[in-house]
Symmetry: D2
């Protein structure tokens, strides 16, 4: 499924529940940061090594997948209501970052 397809599903999901008036960019940005906070909480007391093994615990794996899905859902909705093309925004940002952070062993 493409990113646009996923956004279509979420748009319909919101419409069927009369959530559109709540989905202003301001509110969606808040919801995104709230879900990012919940995702952070899963990892806050883990060592870096423990965090790398988090998916081996079935209960934590479900929690991680759910929180990642929530962040992704609000990001897709936010981009959709703002008319931002996620793929273009990302690749353009990567070009900026490639200049800002040249590769490690760049000899140019």
């Amino acid at each position: 499924m493409t990113i646009a397809n996923l956004q279509g599903l979420l748009r319909e999901f919101a419409a069927e529940r009369d959530w559109e008036p709540f989905h202003t960019p301001k509110n969606l940005a808040m919801a995104l940061s709230g879900e990012a906070g919940e995702l952070t909480e899963i990892f806050q007391w883990l060592t870096p090594a423990e965090s790398s093994a988090v998916m081996t615990d079935p209960a934590q794996a479900v929690q991680v997948r759910d929180e990642i899905a929530d962040v992704f859902a609000y990001l897709l909705r936010l981009a959709d209501v703002l008319g931002v093309d996620l793929e273009t925004a990302l690749t353009e940002k990567m070009v900026k970052n490639a200049v800002k952070y040249p590769p490690a062993n760049s000899t140019l």
Copy 2:
């Protein structure tokens, strides 16, 4: 480009810069929440109506696109290092949410 393609680009980008040791799930979750915080800051003093018009201001539009791209980049990286399929995680979460929040005019 598919989500997997975008993750491939980001994986390569990180590898070329020797960033992999830093890209633990713990650190990437922090980076994601940091970028979500920067995105939130753009909207914090705007009214809901002003937030809906944010892309009409060229300078703010660039800022919004860049912050959305940063959130997306860290979400893609986090899902990649954890082996979470974003599309599957999202659609499974939507099924859970469809049960939790039935449509507004559902008469079943």
Copy 3:
């Protein structure tokens, strides 16, 4: 009670539960941002006017107080483990901000 007294209570609370090894600045910053995320979630679908009336709903009032307390607790712990004096840090930042943002009707 002073800020230092509150920090003393929290330090003892952490020590009695053997939580000190977990209370690195990195982890406490994550915990703080996680709680800030939960606080944000309370307000995300409210209009600005509804947000101003949030304490008139007894159930929401309890939730708000609890989340504010959690944010405060982690901020106090973080400042404590870093040796940052909160009062000094705040008043020094206000001096910087006073220069950056002169009063509205300043005629100087």
Copy 4:
């Protein structure tokens, strides 16, 4: 200075700049989470051990103090506009937490 004194200073600071209309609980919660995000960014690539030594680097120390001050400022403002007594909220939450998390070597 007491917490109430600090809140008084911040209230006056906002009033002198005509910021009060912007300081709804919704907006202040967003601002708080934005600053928590900036604080998180300081620590995101540090190991736990490096995070414990962050104040030994003068430039990072200034940054940490400033971000902690920003979080504290918005927390004080938010509590002020909501009429939440921070000290009471914190001590009440600690009582709840003491029940939820008994001391490590409790034999009662």
